[in-house]
Amino acid sequence: MIRDITLGQYYQADSVIHRLDPRVKLVATIGFIISLFVVDSWVGYVVAALFLACMIKLSKVPFRYMVKGMRAIVFILMITVVFNLFLTPGEPLVTVWKLTITKQGLRTAVMMAVRLSFLIVGSSLMTLTTTPNSLTDGMEKLMKPLKYVKVPVHEIAMMMSIALRFIPILLEETDKIMKAQIARGADFESGNLIKKAKAMVPLLVPLFISAFRRANDLAMAMEARCYRGGEHRTKMKPLCYHAADRIAYCVLLVYFAGCVAIRIFF
């Protein structure tokens, strides 16, 4: 029941996007997010939409699959839209009771919705096409310069990859414990908020215990293999750029320059 959450989970496929260096995808995602805030005209959004649509097409991830994973976000999106819609001062358009929709409000609300959904789709495209491991690898390499200012880059990357690795495991565990407690007559659905919160105890306690147990086991297994952090550690598959990655950087640069141009001229 709980395993249906697909938001950002890796989708196995063989595409140009999948094969790109994770660093390219990271930079591209950040670039794309910035570009969304650079442009503020409809022309700009059309360009961004076209760019995103091309990337989705190239990634071979079914669009339906991506949208399915987004359902959880819709609620947050709605809140943003509603607040912007009613609370932006300006020229009134419609007035219902005490709520006034202004022209400016409508404009910001729609723009926010477009921006946010593009942002989410764009960044989930990265996680959908990149395995958590290569993602953290890329992050580690990108952040390498920070090492000189004593930022523990390798440790951060390792923590991230472990955290990501544990998400599906803990989801499965949650599902199992939930079922076990339901089999003992537990009720997670009915009742008021306090009753529901109380009903979570038989789920959360075993879940935390199991998380600690797993963390302990993992630490032990790492120690047993003489893990000592990032110092002098080599990689089996070191990241290096290929022709496709250079082309991707060029495409990104053109897109970004286009966005800046649109901002200036429209």
């Binding site: 199992k176 079922k179 076990a180 339901i182 003992r184 007559g185 038989p202 075993p206 215990i209």
Partner: protein, 282 residues
């Protein structure tokens, strides 16, 4: 009182590219008071099947009837069903959460809305049934040994007084001594209370000694459903699906091949000994 599975199918991840047909047209009748072994290799669908027995999973097609009523009817009382069909999951000790053993066992009956007195009586009886000594009752369940934790978890289900007790791999991860203790305790419990027990396992050796009926699952469908001695006759086919008959079956088969006129259908070591002695006229 009986449980009937009628043409049950279950597909994981329907409508996706990763759909897995986990149960294929499973038909079973589970009458009162039987001791049943449900055997299958990893991934044969046995865990999926047991979750259908108490309505935790809904069949993609087909129906499950308990005492003649369809358990997926709209106003069917699932909570009542789950108290009648007690399901003990794999590694049940991972579900313990209360501050002491006794309180944890009380969780099940308390959810049934019984009076405090009845809840405590049932919890006490259940802990006695699994053979846990009084001195552990008020300890934290997390301080107990693996075998003891598992007993507590089984007691947690027993305290709901089920008519059918389903145990999914109750011996997984236990040492041979712990395994025998748990299985003996379950057999004793079965004897005393007369409830239906379904023992899920991947090892014939474990269940051969206790059960009166064996259901063999393979790739989501029921391969054999018979008394142990009949099922073990198919020991060659069982090997093909990643299972094995108990070791005595192999010994008896080997003896027969060497020209000793023994009955190869014996299922336990004690029976085998009797049979060999009989043939040797001792």
């Amino acid at each position: 009182m009986s449980l009937i599975l009628d043409h049950v199918n279950y597909v994981y991840g329907e409508d996706t590219a990763l759909a897995v047909h986990a149960l294929k047209d499973v038909n079973l009748v589970i009458p009162d008071g039987q001791f049943i072994g449900l055997i299958g290799h990893t991934g044969s669908g046995k865990s999926t099947l047991v979750q259908h027995l108490n309505g935790l999973m809904k069949p993609t097609s087909g129906a499950v009837y308990f005492n003649g009523e369809d358990i997926h009817e709209k106003d069917y009382d699932k909570k009542q069903l789950r108290s009648k069909v007690g399901l003990v999951f794999q590694y049940p000790e991972h579900q313990l959460f209360e501050i002491d053993v006794f309180k944890d066992v009380c969780f099940g009956p308390k959810n049934l809305g019984l009076s405090q007195k009845e809840v405590e009586l049932r919890a006490y009886a259940a802990l006695k049934q699994v053979g846990l000594e009084d001195e552990y009752f008020y300890q934290s369940p997390f301080d107990l040994s693996g075998g003891q934790k598992r007993r507590v978890a089984i007691a947690g289900v027993l305290a709901m007084k089920p008519d059918i007790l389903v145990l999914d791999e109750p011996t997984a991860g236990l040492d041979p001594k712990g395994r025998d203790e748990i299985l003996d305790q379950i057999a004793k419990l079965k004897e005393e209370t007369g409830i239906t027990v379904i023992l899920v396992s991947h090892s014939m050796e474990d269940v051969a000694k206790y059960v009166e009926r064996i259901i063999v699952m393979n790739q989501g469908s029921v391969l054999y459903d018979d008394v142990p001695r009949e099922v073990f006759k198919h020991y060659k086919e069982l090997e093909q699906v990643g299972l094995a008959a108990p070791q005595v079956t192999y010994i008896m088969q080997a003896l027969k091949k060497r020209g000793m006129p023994v009955d190869t259908a014996v299922t336990t070591i004690a029976e085998a000994k009797q049979e060999i002695l009989r043939v040797l006229h001792r």
